[in-house]
């Protein structure tokens, strides 16, 4: 089955809430192809859903780029969420459970960080936000 899946990098634009659904579907397909466990697939797709929604709501839209990565022993899925929005002024606060400026639950950033293995965020006021997450197979 997986032989037919193209594992090259794929980019999904995020400009509407239908695109957030498409990001979830793309990430799920790739996570299944690299044989993440069911729980890890679920965690990664959930994190991707949170971050794609953030890209849309706070970043004013952007892109999600999904790549298969390898470190010799194992494979993983890396996703980069990038937007050219206002950026995050206080990153420490933004990563706190329950903090929100958008009327949500304030779990998007902090919660998705717990769901993945690697989490990196580059942001500055006025310079957009770029979040990279990776989930490795066990």
């Amino acid at each position: 089955m997986t032989a037919g899946v193209d594992l090259g990098p794929k980019t999904q634009a995020i400009g509407s809430d239908e695109d957030v659904v498409r990001v979830r579907q793309l990430v799920r397909t790739v996570a299944v192809a690299v044989k993440l466990s069911l729980v890890d697939q679920t965690k990664l797709v959930t994190a991707a859903s949170e971050l794609a929604r953030n890209t849309l709501i706070y970043g004013g839209g952007g892109t999600a780029e999904v790549t298969v990565v390898e470190d010799g022993r194992r494979r993983g899925v890396r996703i980069v969420f990038a937007d050219s929005g206002p950026g995050i002024v206080d990153l420490g606060l933004a990563l706190t459970d329950g903090y929100t400026t958008g009327g949500g639950l304030g779990l998007g950033l902090s919660g998705s960080r717990r769901l993945v293995d690697d989490f990196d965020i580059q942001t500055a006021p006025g310079e957009g936000t770029r979040i990279t997450i990776t989930k490795w197979s066990r």
């Binding site: 239908e18 957030v20 659904v21 579907q25 729980v39 859903s49 949500g104 919660g111 998705s112 717990r114």
Partner: protein, 138 residues
């Protein structure tokens, strides 16, 4: 936009979510359900999420909101069919699903609603009814 159908079975409204919902679809479901509760006078709502492979913070909040709205409209909400991987992910994400009652499947959900209604109406305790103090004590 897709819409989630709401089925009426006796005194219960059954919602089986079979699609990957966009945020707008989730909000519409919330509003449709409130209207159907009032229009039908149903006292129970069962939301079957067997087919959902993720529940993120947005859908989690929708479930909590539906439970609160139906409570105000004199109906009990039970969420059934949550997958184990979804439950694990929800907890790690930090979502507590406040006020939501759960059951393993639709049948157990219907039993739970029936039992709750009986308790509320005092059907189970004929002695209390006789003594005349039934309504206030529990």
């Amino acid at each position: 936009m897709e819409r989630v159908p709401i089925l009426k079975i006796g005194d219960i409204l059954l919602v089986s979510i079979q699609i990957d919902m966009s945020d707008q679809t989730a909000v519409t479901l919330q509003e449709d359900l409130a209207e159907r509760i009032v229009a039908t006078g149903c006292h129970g709502v069962i939301i079957d999420i067997t087919a959902l492979d993720i529940v993120d913070s947005f859908v989690g909040r929708m479930l909590s909101t539906i439970a609160s709205i139906s409570k105000v409209l004199d109906a009990e909400t039970v969420v059934v069919g949550m997958r184990p991987a979804v439950a694990i992910t929800l907890v790690e994400l930090g979502l507590s699903l406040n006020g939501i009652r759960t059951a393993l499947n639709v049948e157990r959900g219907m039993e739970l609603i029936a039992a709750t209604r009986d308790d509320d109406l005092g059907y189970d305790d004929p002695e209390d009814v006789e003594s005349g103090t039934a309504a206030t004590s529990s």
